[in-house]
């Protein structure tokens, strides 16, 4: 009977299940011809398998060249290391019958904090020899397989001792054939749990405060017959997460354990162990430990509990997993924090770091070990929440959060509501235990702008932007930006934004013009943008202002005290004079106060984009050296030229054409001098200084730059109207709204521009009224970003850019290429908004600094500077 035969076969070789952790190093062990490659092919992806034969081939063009073995294994180890560093399951297909070969693999697994797993294919030597004989490409000397078999036999019993955390031995061909690999999750992998969570800091036996906190978080407590809390559940199904150090020092360690163990058992909570649980557990297991740091209180209190409860506690302690990955990997919880490379990994040092943190080997003045500032260096995307080190208040550092606010020392007990990122805390009822040192230490890296590292900015980089995808920064541009940023720019903590460059409108063919509004309107119309705003382009220099509402506001938010800052396009302090800077900021602050902007926007600081005038205030050196100098040279030379020409013409020489041309040059030079003079006027203190803000960039928790321009102008108008003082500092930005579908509207705007520039104005900037706009592709799908603005510069102003007599060379100057400038403008725009987004989201300094630095780097790209 066919069925019976099948059954019998199945029974004799019942499928052997081989659990393999999803991130681990699988070491196949077996003699040549044991079927390792076949086994690997059957159970793993081709890319997961690294074979010594393959590596031999790579380095020596011959898979059987034994003389290349050393180099081949170097390569194999290198590949294995790269894969494990990336957290990928890796299978080593080599004989691995010698302890030395395995020792190296175990070492590599430990270096990357993954479990080494051994799978032994113990196939009789005869079978192996036969298989080898049938392989035309491999002729082994007869003694090789017996020798390998002897080595294998000697190895079998010691594999666990060598460090393999799982050892699967498959004996004989049938067992090999019937084996089935079963992927197994790591214990710390709870990524499928998405919360929401309430992560609770170090409790240390403060049961009463814990009850208060859980109640405040909305949990309802369940009590046993004696009124002791034994569980707490949240009506909305939230899960509590305890970061460890439930025990020791405080008044009621058993009470805390009873409640937390109840919650964990009921599935209402998750708990990771702290170093105190670790030590208490060992003490309760009868191990010899030093009784100190509040352990005695726990042992005494537990002595009053039942033997049964103590057994439950021991069981609970033993089952604790050092750290957890939650919410798809976006949240990591461990007692003492965890660097990114340890997330989800599994090794002694991972557990050690999770429980104790890392120390520098030094001790402080109280004899306590100095912590290694791992959070400072942390650059991971997952939020790491931890406790362990008491801090006065919980604060985010590089996407890490220490929740230990020293409740037992008279501080508070703090919880993080996740994903809301809200902190909830309750004050300690009293100081339960005297701290060894005062609770005034900083969370590592919280101050002094420490968290910025060179690796955050240097070299070729890709910055991910929400609006424009990946923006690349070239190495040479980053190098230049590094020099400017570190030598000349303001403190990066203040420098939350750098303004993007802006492209001009397409080159006009209109007689006498290089730029004209018509092209801007047409371009936006072609992009499907109907409503535009034309804003007057002021005759000053770009300035970004960070304005504090009060002296402490910036200290709180940016870590730098003071009234704020004003900076230029490359991040330099706009004014050398701190007093004058403060005076300008003071005027903006009081105007914003009177206009109610702080209240309305719920912020105690504002970031503004503005133009600061006159141009000579900042660029007087450039004006003198370049612009005025050219005017002076022309003014000295051309009258002499004309005089010489007139005298020569008086002699009857035919110089009419040449004279006409020189007269034109002279007139152009005069117009040029007039043009730059409009940008110069004297200032004395605040007197003469004019600030024309045109956009509110950001306020607390908000990227305002994406809001429509009519909103911006309304805010700005209120700000300007609220300026006081005998001589106004704040100035309005003239504007005209345009409907690109309405010819009367575009004509009116053109007339406005002509009037503006005819009177010597610089020109205007044309922007989509809605600010952030994308083109629409077919079926209304959003396309690329539309230029956020185009400048249309006045005919006279362009003499400052293209030279005094550029109007004589228009045909050639029209051959200008805008493509790179436009692309640059979009990339910088996206980076600027990215920085503001990250600032609004409260992301770490390095995340805000990254796109800001990238804007500066892109500014050093080769693009026609006249555009």
């Amino acid at each position: 009977m066919t069925d019976a035969t099948v059954d019998a076969t199945t029974e004799s070789t019942a499928p052997r299940l081989l659990p393999v952790t999803d991130v681990s190093l699988v070491v196949l062990i077996g003699t040549s011809g044991a079927g390792k490659s076949t086994f690997a092919r059957r159970h793993f992806l081709p890319t997961q398998v690294v074979s010594s034969d393959f590596c031999r081939g790579l380095v020596a063009d011959d898979e059987n060249d034994q003389s290349a073995s050393a180099e081949a294994f170097d390569l194999l180890h290198y590949i294995v290391g790269k894969r494990l560093a990336a957290g990928r399951l890796t299978v080593v297909d080599a004989t691995n019958v010698q302890p030395e070969a395995r020792r190296q693999l175990v070492r590599i697994a430990r270096e990357h904090d993954v479990l080494p797993i051994a799978i032994v294919l113990d196939v009789p030597p005869g079978v192996c020899a036969e298989r080898n004989r049938s392989r035309p490409d491999r002729q082994l000397p007869a003694h090789v397989i017996p020798r390998q078999n002897r080595e294998l036999r000697r190895s079998l019993r010691g594999l666990e001792r060598e460090g393999f955390r799982k050892v699967h031995i498959l004996r004989g061909e049938a067992e090999v054939a019937a084996a089935e690999v079963v992927p197994e999750k790591r214990y710390n992998d709870l990524r499928h749990l998405t919360g929401p969570f309430d992560v609770v800091g170090d409790i240390h036996g403060c049961r009463s405060e814990l009850e208060t906190l859980l109640t405040r978080l909305g949990y309802s407590l369940t009590r046993d017959a004696e009124g002791r809390p034994v569980d707490a559940a949240h009506p909305a199904g939230r899960t509590a997460v305890f970061v460890g150090d439930l025990v020791d020092r405080g008044p009621d360690t058993p009470g805390v354990l009873r409640l937390v163990m109840g919650m964990v058992a009921a599935g209402h909570a998750i708990c990771v162990p702290g170093n105190h649980e670790n030590k208490l557990g060992r003490a309760m297991d009868g191990k010899k430990v030093t009784v100190s740091h509040g352990l005695k209180e726990s042992l005494d209190q537990l002595a009053g509990e039942s033997e049964e409860f103590r057994a439950e506690v021991r069981e609970f302690m033993r089952g604790l997993v050092s750290h957890y990955l939650l919410d798809g990997g976006a949240l990591v919880v461990s007692h003492a924090g965890l660097p990114e490379k340890y997330h989800g990994r599994n090794s002694g040092r991972v557990r050690s770091h999770a429980l104790y943190g890392e120390t520098t080997g030094e001790t402080d003045e109280y004899g306590l070990p100095v912590r290694y500032p791992w959070a400072e260096e942390y650059r991971g995307r997952a939020l790491v929440v931890y406790g362990h080190t008491p801090v006065p208040t919980a604060g985010f550092v590089n996407n890490t959060l220490c929740l230990d606010t020293g409740c037992v020392f008279g501080g508070s007990l703090t919880a993080l509501r996740y994903p809301e990122r809200e902190l909830v805390s309750v004050e300690a009822e009293r100081e339960w235990y005297a701290p060894v040192r005062p609770l005034i230490t900083d969370a590592p890296g919280a101050r002094e702008g420490r968290p910025l590292d060179l690796a955050d900015v240097a070299g070729r980089r890709i910055v991910e932007t929400r609006l424009h995808g990946r923006v690349a920064v070239r190495e040479e541009n980053a190098a230049a930006a590094l020099e400017v940023m570190s030598r000349f720019a303001l403190d990066p903590r203040l420098l939350a934004y750098l303004p993007p460059t802006m492209a001009p409108s397409a080159t006009s063919r209109r007689d006498g013009y290089l730029e004209h509004p018509e092209e801007a309107f047409l371009a936006y119309r072609a992009d499907g943008v109907r409503h535009l705003v034309c804003e007057e382009k002021h005759m000053g220099s770009r300035a970004v202002l960070l304005v504090a509402r009060d002296g402490a506001a910036l200290e709180r938010r940016f870590g730098v005290a003071g009234p704020g800052a004003i900076w230029t396009r490359t991040g330099r302090a706009f004014l050398d004079d701190d007093g004058l800077t403060a005076a300008v900021l003071g005027r903006v602050r009081s105007a914003a106060e009177r206009a109610g902007l702080f209240e309305e926007l719920g912020t105690d600081w504002l970031l503004l984009d503005a133009e600061l005038m006159p141009w000579s205030l900042k660029a007087v050196e450039l004006l003198r050296r370049q612009y005025a100098a050219v005017g002076a040279a022309a003014g000295a030379a051309l009258p002499e030229v004309l005089s010489a020409l007139e005298r020569a013409a008086g002699r009857g020489l035919d110089l009419a054409d040449l004279t006409a041309r020189q007269r034109q040059r002279s007139a152009d030079a005069g117009a040029f001098t007039e043009a730059y003079r409009r940008y110069c006027w004297p200032t004395e203190g605040l007197s003469g200084i004019r600030l024309a803000p045109f956009q509110l960039l950001a306020a607390e928790g908000a990227n305002l730059a994406v809001r429509p321009h009519d909103e911006h102008l309304a805010w700005i108008d209120r700000l300007v109207a609220a300026d006081d003082g005998e001589e106004p500092v704040l100035h309005r930005t003239g504007r005209v709204l345009v409907d690109t579908e309405d010819e009367a509207s575009t004509a009116a705007a053109t007339a406005w521009w002509e009037e503006l520039t005819g009177a010597g104005g610089e020109g205007m900037v044309v922007k989509p009224l809605a600010s952030l706009v994308r083109t629409t592709r077919g079926e209304g799908r959003p396309g690329g970003l539309v230029q956020p603005g185009m400048k249309v510069r006045g005919r006279e102003y362009l003499r400052i850019i293209y030279g005094p007599d550029y109007t004589e060379h228009l045909d050639r100057l029209r051959q200008r290429s805008l493509g790179h400038k436009r692309s640059l403008a979009l990339r910088e725009y996206a980076l600027g908004l990215e920085a503001l987004d990250r600032l609004a989201a409260g992301e770490p300094l390095w995340r805000v600094h990254e796109p800001v630095f990238a804007v500066l780097a892109l500014e050093s790209e080769p693009v026609d500077p006249r555009l």
Partner: protein, 547 residues
């Protein structure tokens, strides 16, 4: 430019036309590399004859031509330094010199086949140039410079500075000078040759569009008179400076120049980490103050006492040797002067030079001849770009770090970031810091009172200020510090340089009970749950209260 001569009926001034090979009755046009030149005669009589050369430079062609290899993507002019707003079309610059050679080639050679006797004869000449750029460039420009250059050649010089803008008298004079050169008797060919060489020397500005071969021709024209000129050193130096700018324009990366331009700043204001003077000039950016405004030591050949920079390096080396350091990071290494000294001592086995300026690092690499050092020697040195306001993993693990004349180049509010990056994060066992002693500045005669020694110094500290800073940093980061003077000691104001040697306080390893386990390689290891195949030991690490 106009050239006038006087004469009489027997010796008519219109002979100038023969000399110049240009007929006084014509208007002639010539094409030069940068635009059109016109020659015409406003006056042509026996008594007075004036020839005018009008060079009508095409500014657009100038910029587009100059972009050369720096051509940007999309065919746009990529030459941050080449401005359309340019004085070249108006000023009598090196471009005029080039045009002279084109237009008056024969006259310059002194050839005149029609009247062979004329070129050898000296005539009265008056040469007028309405706007000549006479740049100071640290050597005193303006009318004085014109006189220095032309008077030794026998010219009477009338030179008047032209104001920048009469609307803004506070801006002062421009760099342009209205010049008239008058001589009772000079050969025209000599006059033209002298102008040909000296106009560019006066100019001294950047000449990104003059080809190198043209520059060489300029110098060749100095034969016969340049050797005897008392200012030949100045002429040569400025000639070389021009060469240097030329090289820079062609070879260097322009990223920094673009960033300067983006902020309406002079390129030199930003890209100033490396002195632009040619290296053979002995540019010593760290020698500020000792040489003042460009005055050279009178007799450089005489053996001289060690310069302050040399004394400073010696003091640093002494301090490093005391610490027993083998691996040294030179933070802010500039052009590698100290690294050169470190290389001479085999005890320094690993030397890292870090500077924020890529140009400085390139110069250091060139000066240290890193590419030509024997492999083992070269392996001792690494140069890397870095900024000390950022922490940098590459700086960890050194025995000592040197901050030689570095801190004063940082704005004071940024100094804490450097303190942390060096003393907190990199944490070498020893740190040597040197900085100027501001008190000593009164002893530099050439240094105006109240100014700093180098334009980029953001601050200079007194001994008390530096001492207080050093104590504060040492206390904050667990170092001890000793302060030392460097250079000649003055009873009242101390030494010109101050040095601080920081040594990390040696802490024993953390006490056993508080230390978490550190051994990670040795079994037994710890896991979160027992392995499936048994035998695994679950060992809890020894340790306890880490707080």
């Amino acid at each position: 430019m106009s050239i006038s001569t006087t004469g009489s009926a027997e010796d008519p001034a219109t002979d100038l036309g023969f000399l110049l090979h240009k007929h006084p009755g014509k208007v002639q046009r010539f094409t030069t590399s940068h635009g059109e030149a016109h020659v015409f005669y406003p006056e042509a009589g026996d008594e007075v004859c004036t020839a005018a050369l009008l060079l009508d430079i095409d500014p657009v062609a100038l910029v587009r031509k100059g972009r050369g290899d720096g051509r940007g993507r999309g065919g746009s002019p990529d030459f941050a330094l080449a401005q359309y707003v340019n004085d070249r079309p108006y000023a009598a610059s090196s471009l005029l010199a080039v045009a002279l050679r084109t237009v008056f080639r024969s006259a310059m050679k002194g050839a005149c086949p029609a009247r062979p006797e004329l070129p050898g004869r000296a005539r009265p000449l008056r040469i007028e140039l309405p706007a000549v750029p006479a740049n100071g460039a640290g050597e005193g420009g303006g009318p004085a410079m014109v006189a220095r250059l032309f008077e030794p050649l026998g010219w009477r010089v009338e030179a008047v500075a032209i104001p920048l803008d009469e609307s803004f008298p506070e801006w002062g004079d421009s760099r342009y000078v209205r010049i008239a050169l008058v001589s009772e008797a000079v050969r025209l060919a000599d006059a033209l040759q002298q102008l040909y060489v000296l106009l560019p020397v006066l100019d001294g500005a950047k000449h990104y569009w003059v080809a190198p071969d043209e520059v060489d021709k300029l110098l060749a024209a100095g034969e016969g008179w340049l050797a005897a000129h008392p200012e030949r050193a100045l002429i040569t130096r400025r000639y070389l400076a021009r060469r240097w700018s030329l090289t820079r324009a062609a070879m260097e990366r322009l990223e920094l120049a673009r960033l300067a331009e983006a902020d309406d700043r002079e390129v030199e204001e930003v890209d100033n980490a490396v002195d632009d003077r040619p290296e053979e000039e002995g540019a010593r950016p760290e020698e500020e103050g000792t040489q003042g405004s460009g005055e050279r030591p009178a007799e450089p050949e005489r053996p001289r006492p060690p310069s302050l920079a040399e004394q400073r390096r010696a003091a640093i080396l002494d301090a490093l040797r005391e610490t027993g350091a083998a691996r040294v990071a030179d933070l802010g290494c500039g052009q590698g002067e100290l690294i050169g000294e470190l290389l001479k001592d085999a005890r320094f086995t690993g030397i890292l030079g870090v500077d924020v300026s890529v140009r400085a690092l390139q110069a250091a690499s060139r000066k240290l001849r890193l590419d030509r050092l024997p492999e083992r020697q070269a392996a001792r040195v690494t140069l890397a770009q870095g900024a000390l306001t950022y922490t940098d993993a590459r700086l960890k693990g050194f025995d000592a770090a040197v901050l030689c004349e570095v801190i004063e180049h940082l704005d004071l509010p940024r100094l804490p970031a450097l303190e942390y990056a060096v003393f907190g994060a990199a944490r070498p066992r020893a740190v040597v810091v040197t900085t100027p002693n501001a008190e000593y500045n009164v002893r530099w005669e050439s240094l105006p009172a109240g100014t700093v020694r180098h334009a980029d110094h953001r601050f200079e500290w007194s001994r008390a200020e530096f001492g207080a800073w050093a104590e504060k940093v040492a206390a904050a980061y667990g170092y001890t510090v000793v302060l030392r003077p460097v250079g000649p000691q003055d009873e009242e104001v101390g030494a010109p340089t101050q040095l601080a040697l920081f040594t990390a306080t040696v802490d024993g390893p953390a006490t056993a009970v508080d230390a978490p386990p550190t051994a990670v390689d040795a079994p037994p290891i710890t896991v979160d749950a027992p392995a499936t195949t048994g035998a695994a030991t679950t060992t809890t690490p020894e340790g306890g209260e880490p707080r």
